[in-house]
């Protein structure tokens, strides 16, 4: 039931912009809780890598005196990976196209993260 609700939030998030290619909710231990990923994408790797990156981001923000972590953004020539906390114990990861309008995506991701935090 909860997984369905989370999937529904993710489906809605993916639908807010054509630039969002995939999204997932992951526990801070790296296990996928719910996801809307393209076929062929390894759920376990997306989950573990996202949680690891967020953990490193957390430590980096702390070590370099940047305050509480809001998000981790990775840019590659084939697109973006955006990770943010959705509550204290889970991570929302979004994959977006290279020409994505980040401002809008940030806003949608923030809203989705808040909804996910409530559900969890």
């Amino acid at each position: 039931m909860r997984a369905d609700m989370l999937t529904s939030v993710l489906t809605e998030l993916n639908g807010t912009s054509g630039d969002i290619e995939a999204s997932g909710v992951i526990s801070t231990d790296g296990l996928m809780i719910a996801s809307v990923l393209p076929a062929g994408m390894d759920e376990d790797r997306v989950g573990a890598m996202s949680a690891a990156m967020l953990s490193l981001g957390d430590r980096t923000a702390q070590e370099l005196a940047r305050g509480a972590l809001e998000q981790v953004l990775i840019k590659g020539d084939k697109g973006y990976v955006l990770m943010t906390y959705a509550g204290a114990e889970s991570v929302l990861t979004v994959l977006a196209k290279p020409n994505a309008k980040l401002g809008l995506i940030f806003l949608d991701v923030k809203r989705a993260a808040a909804s996910i935090a409530e559900l969890l």
Binding site: D29, G30, G47, A48, M49, A51, S55, R59
Partner: protein, 185 residues
């Protein structure tokens, strides 16, 4: 990770060539050799004292180290070379990591020890070539086996220590690290 000492000792024996016959030989020569091992220990630490890099590991604790070293050498001759023996040698390697002793110290030290023991064996048994030859084979095999186990433990303890450091720095939990590793198996 829990170590299977039965497997470890069997595996180490295949490499060191420590046969049951040589194990018996070690116990046979123990009464002749062990009373003189204190000289080997003293000589070993005298040589260590000439190595500048060893100084910081010896300062203020020579007597304690000598006692542990002597006990370790006596064990090579008196104990059954079984799983318990492997566990003891494994702990030695682990301790060397905990005191940050460089890895080459173990192999280097074993060479120095062997040199001293060879002198001792030749001195005590040189008149009986067969006995002397078998004793040297047995000693070479058991010290080689001990070194192999200690180095394996050293390596595993070093990796575990490095991982702990990485987890602490990165803020990753052990569970997350395990899940990350599993995802790439």
């Amino acid at each position: 990770m829990a170590q299977n000492f039965n497997e470890l000792i069997m595996y180490s024996k295949t490499f060191s060539g420590l046969t049951p016959e040589l194990e018996v030989c070690l116990k046979d020569i123990a009464p002749v050799i062990t009373p003189h091992l204190k000289q080997v220990t003293d000589s070993f630490y005298e040589q260590l004292a000439t190595i500048p890099a060893a100084e910081k590991y010896l300062a203020g604790r020579i007597e304690h180290l000598k006692a542990a070293h002597l006990k370790w050498m006596i064990n090579l001759f008196e104990l059954d070379v079984d799983a318990q023996f492997a566990e003891g040698m494994y702990k030695v390697g682990d301790i060397h990591v905990k005191v940050n002793l460089p890895v080459e110290f173990m192999a280097g030290a074993m060479t120095l020890i062997n040199t001293e023991i060879i002198k001792l064996v030749i001195d005590k048994m040189g008149s009986d070539l067969d006995k002397c030859s078998k004793a040297l084979q047995a000693i070479n095999a058991v010290t080689g086996l001990a070194l192999m186990i200690m180095q394996q433990s050293y390596q595993e303890s070093s990796i575990a220590e490095e991982l702990e450091k990485f987890l602490k720095i990165s803020g990753m939990s052990r569970t997350l690290f395990t899940n990350l590793a599993k995802a790439y198996n």
